[in-house]
């Protein structure tokens, strides 16, 4: 991004802030529905000084990290296994295509029943949603291995593990990272959703409580915070991706340009 783009971007944010400040102050929209932007930010600043908010954030983010990790490990393991067993890919395709579009929120009643308003509920939803994102990418990735390279590996009698580590994994890594990036944001959405709907402790529960208590500015402040965390999650995964794929032509080209 050039300096001029950044200036335009900052101007865009300033306009957004100005409109969100002016509209309720001029009475175009009632303050009960949209408090002025400065009030939202002030409320957010106040919330950030309370212990409850930080412990809620801790709950949300640990459910996010744990769920994402479980889903990632399961998906990579299963994807690699499907690749290694001959015929497994064709045999599992229909099942994957059927299970993948099932909305994970359909599992909310089941999660409530099995785990109640607890970490288990969040984990069930997060793992289900994030798992498919990673698995699909792993399957694309392992299918992308160059057949000639595979034959070469066989000619040189590289063992199963060496082929996996030296050939399959590096080829699949860009795909796996795309899967991780998609899964990270989906997992965050589901973590907040589980708290919001089931009532597991966390940021979502705080939003729900603020809403039922009529604390409009707090609702806006917490939603803003959720958006900021979402941006941070995106940036963090993207920078991890760049670091792990620094050797890959797609990233190397980007750095040179």
């Amino acid at each position: 991004m050039t300096g001029r783009d950044a200036a335009y971007g900052a101007a865009g944010l300033a306009v957004l802030f100005g409109v969100a400040e002016a509209v309720p102050r001029l009475g175009l929209v009632s303050r009960d529905f949209l408090p002025p932007a400065s009030e939202i930010l002030r409320t957010l600043g106040h919330e950030l000084t309370t212990r409850q908010l930080w412990s809620a954030l801790g709950d949300t983010m640990s459910a996010w990290a744990l769920g994402l990790a479980i889903a990632f490990v399961l998906a990579v393991a299963l994807g690699t296994l499907i690749d290694a067993v001959p015929g497994a890919r064709a045999a599992t395709a229909s099942t994957v295509e059927f299970l993948r579009p099932i909305p994970s929120v359909a599992l909310i009643p089941l999660a409530t029943l099995l785990f109640g308003a607890d970490l288990g509920s969040s984990l069930l939803l997060i793992v289900y949603a994030a798992f498919w994102q990673v698995l699909i990418q792993v399957l694309y990735g392992v299918a992308d291995v160059d057949p000639v390279a595979r034959e070469t590996a066989r000619s040189y009698r590289l063992g199963h593990w060496t082929t996996l580590r030296r050939l399959v994994w590096p080829t699949a890594l860009p795909y796996v990272m795309t899967g991780l990036r998609l899964a990270a944001s989906v997992a965050f959405i589901l973590a907040v959703t589980a708290e919001l709907v089931i009532g597991s402790p966390g940021l979502g529960l705080r939003i729900q409580l603020a809403q039922s208590g009529g604390a409009v500015a707090t609702v806006y402040a917490l939603i803003t915070l959720a958006g900021i965390i979402g941006v941070v999650v995106n940036l963090a995964v993207r920078s991890l991706e760049r670091r792990l794929l620094a050797w890959h032509p797609s990233v190397r080209g980007e750095a040179a340009a």
């Binding site: 001029r4 783009d5 335009y8 971007g9 900052a10 101007a11 865009g12 944010l13 306009v15 957004l16 529905f33 949209l34 064709a90 045999a91 599992t92 395709a93 229909s94 099942t95 059927f98 299970l99 579009p101 099932i102 909305p103 994970s104 929120v105 359909a106 599992l107 909310i108 009643p109 089941l110 409530t112 029943l113 099995l114 944001s185 965050f188 959405i189 907040v192 959703t193 919001l196 709907v197 979502g204 939003i207 729900q208 809403q211 409009v216 609702v219 806006y220 917490l222 939603i223 959720a226 958006g227 900021i228 965390i229 979402g230 941006v231 999650v233 995106n234």
Partner: protein, 259 residues
């Protein structure tokens, strides 16, 4: 290999694992009957009674209508705004940080907010669905419109193609693969939001009914609802794929001839 054998093998590939899984579930539920996990046979038996009677008109159809209304609204707004923003470099630079922020907000947190503003009626649910589903459409349209091939763009200018004709003949077709990718993401978000909006505050709809069953411990009925939601998700993704194949027919065709 004979044709019959190949057909058999194909059927085995598609149906083998699903049949095995359902059989395994059934065997497990006979061996270790569980209150929370009824047998597939029992779920199939209540499925017809629960969903294919009065609830079809009272809950299933209204859910689907709201889903469709919200989705279409998001698609129209997303493509229109996205084209406008994508065509102007300055507008794009100015809106980018704000859009990144809005996209990163988990859409379900908008449910309590929109409930506050718009009440509990159908309009609220349509609004919730549209407000979450618009972002992937918008951002993908911006990207697609921005990335129109420069040679094509210059050629169009030389031939004096401008205004609405340029939009219709050049910009939108060139951006359509990316727009379709956005629409596909938006579809799964729309389904999620439909369910959540109904679970939160509603007196009808699939999401509402499933939660009701869960609270009343009608376990097989609840499972039948989960199966129904799964079927809705699956069938809509099939329908979308058919639409995509139709809309992007020329695109795949062109790629094949080039390759």
């Amino acid at each position: 290999m004979s044709r019959a054998a190949r057909l058999m093998l194909g059927a085995l590939r598609v149906l083998g694992l699903p049949v095995l899984l359902v059989a395994g579930w059934w065997a497990w539920s006979v061996w270790r009957p569980s209150f929370y996990v009824p047998s597939p046979q029992r779920i199939a038996a209540v499925f017809g009674d629960v969903w294919l009677t009065a609830r079809l008109g009272d809950d299933v159809l209204p859910s689907l209508v709201r889903l469709l209304a919200g989705y279409v609204l998001a698609a129209l707004l997303g493509v229109a705004l996205g084209t406008a923003i994508g065509l102007s470099g300055r507008l794009r630079a100015a809106t980018e940080p704000a859009l990144e922020f809005f996209r990163a907000i988990p859409p379900p947190v908008l449910v309590p907010l929109i409930m506050l503003v718009a009440g509990l009626d159908t309009a609220m649910k349509v609004l919730v669905i549209a407000s979450g589903a618009i972002w992937p459409v918008l951002l993908n349209t911006i990207e697609g419109v921005r990335a129109v091939d420069e040679v094509l763009s210059d050629t169009a200018r030389v031939y004096g193609l401008r205004g609405p004709a340029r939009l219709r003949r050049l910009v939108l077709p060139a951006a359509s693969p990316q727009i379709m990718a956005g629409l596909r993401q938006a579809l799964s978000i729309a389904i999620i939001l439909m369910v959540i909006a109904e679970m939160f505050a509603s007196t009808s709809g699939i999401g509402h009914t499933v939660v009701l069953f869960q609270r009343q411990f009608q376990i097989p009925e609840m499972w039948s609802g989960i199966v129904l939601l799964g079927l809705v998700g699956f069938l809509l993704s099939l329908a979308f794929r058919a639409l995509e194949r139709r809309v992007l027919h020329w695109h795949w065709h062109q790629r094949e001839t080039h390759a």
